[in-house]
Amino acid sequence: MAMEKWRENPDEELAKIFKRSELSTFWSTNISLVIEPGETLVWIRDGQIEETVTQTRLNNVAGGFRNWIASKNSGGKDIQMLIIDNKPFEIVIGADGYTKDDLEQTGIARLTLRLNHEQANRLTGMLKEKAVKATKGFFRKREVITGYETKLTRTDIEQMMAAEARAKVFGPVIKKFESTDFGSRQLVGKVETAAQIELRKTLELWGMSLENIYVEWDRNAYQSWKSEKAPSIWEEKARRESELAEVIHSEDISDIKADSSRERRKKNSELESEIRTRESEQDVGELSQLMKIKEQINQQKIERNKAEADSGIELEKVKAEAQVESSKYNLETYKDAQATESEKMLRMMEIMQGKKKKEEEE
């Protein structure tokens, strides 16, 4: 007889529902179902738990599991078989928040949970609320419910608990403590108490119980959890937030742009009028300055002319004096030259006379 496990991935799958249609085809073949210790099979007829069984009980039923299924499958409208792993299991979620003194604290919380098989109807009820939707239609696309979730996985629970624990447990508890209190026994106790109280509703809705919780305040562990396991809800939220921020930002930018253009226009017109005023003032100033300069130039011209005239007379005077002086000088030099010449002549005459005497003597 072939043996069949009810789940493919025991680390991930925690509960699975089999519907009547699946039971009458797949399970009624020559297969024996293996339910390990700590697992429970719950038989649900018309939404009521009819039987809670284990593998041992199935072995005791004459004819084995196949006949047992056949005996159970008659009558009743809605028949479901739910198999639950009711051993404690651990989930890891991120813990972050700001302390009383406004310092960010991050870490990872390890929660030990257990699915209560005696509350199996709650679990099936909640799984029924998780509709599986698909988009149909070619031209006009619409979302339709194609079925309901039949599996509960560890990741589902992690995703479900992470956001709620973050908002209801870690944030408020961290806010009550100073950063120096981290690592204290009191904080450990408060986190556990807050988790038991604040997550109670969700846990009870799902037929689960929280057996233990502790937080490792380790920034690196939190970062690696965030990058690997952070719930898709968070990603979606982050995406929406970023979109919203972008919209707000673009609106702000357009507002700023409009404001700035308006401002710019206003400033431009003010500047233009100011420039015009300044220009006219400057023109007036420049004109008056020009007039002044022109006047000054005229004055200077007059003065220069006057000075030139004065200087011309002076020059003429100087020239005349220089001429007088030069003629004086010329005269003196002429006199001197004449004297020198006459002296020369005299000496020549004397020499000539001396020569004559000498010849005569000879």
Partner: protein, 178 residues
């Protein structure tokens, strides 16, 4: 003479068992005192009742813890946590007991042993019921800031331990079935 005494003893035993069975049936629906074709049905019914009752006790404990948390009563918070831890361990034992029924022994057990099992069941059921009443009273006492708070806290804690011990004895008794 011996026959009369034996008959009287059997009669006394039957009456006593019937009384016990009736007492348990007040709490556990359809309890038959291991007198049906499938005796494991009664065992499972008792264990399911215990588990559901433990869930109820746990809810009381969480309520007490919440009261302590909201009113900054660290002592109450701690005591409630101790109760919850004990209840979780109790529940774990009940779950483990259900996994232990791998031995198909239920068809070979003698009537006397079943009678003793009924007595064990009664002790556990009555013990849990007693704790339930104490915890309900304790919750009211805590909310109204009554004087008996500390006394009831102690009684609830010891009641949980006593009921758990009765269940362990029962588990050991069933484990001894061959």
């Amino acid at each position: 003479m011996v026959e009369i005494i034996t008959g009287a003893l059997i009669g006394y035993r039957l009456v006593k068992d019937a009384k016990f069975v009736l007492s348990i049936a007040k709490y556990v629906k359809d309890y038959q005192g291991y007198d049906t074709k499938d005796n494991k049905e009664d065992d499972r019914a008792v264990r399911n009742w215990i588990m559901e009752s433990i869930n109820g006790l746990r809810t009381h404990a969480v309520n007490l813890m919440e009261n302590g948390y909201r009113n900054d009563d660290d002592n109450l918070e701690r005591e409630a946590k101790v109760m919850m831890d004990n209840l979780d361990l109790f529940k774990n034992e009940v779950n483990l007991a259900s996994a232990r029924e791998a031995k198909s022994v239920w068809n070979k057990v003698s009537d006397e042993d079943f009678d003793d099992l009924v007595e064990f069941d009664l002790k556990v059921v009555k013990g849990i019921d007693k704790v339930e009443k104490i915890m309900a009273e304790l919750e009211i006492e805590v909310t109204s800031d009554g004087k008996n708070k500390t006394k009831l806290l102690g009684e609830a804690k010891s009641g949980i331990t006593a009921a758990r011990n009765h269940f362990i004895e029962r588990m050991q008794f069933v484990g001894g079935f061959k």
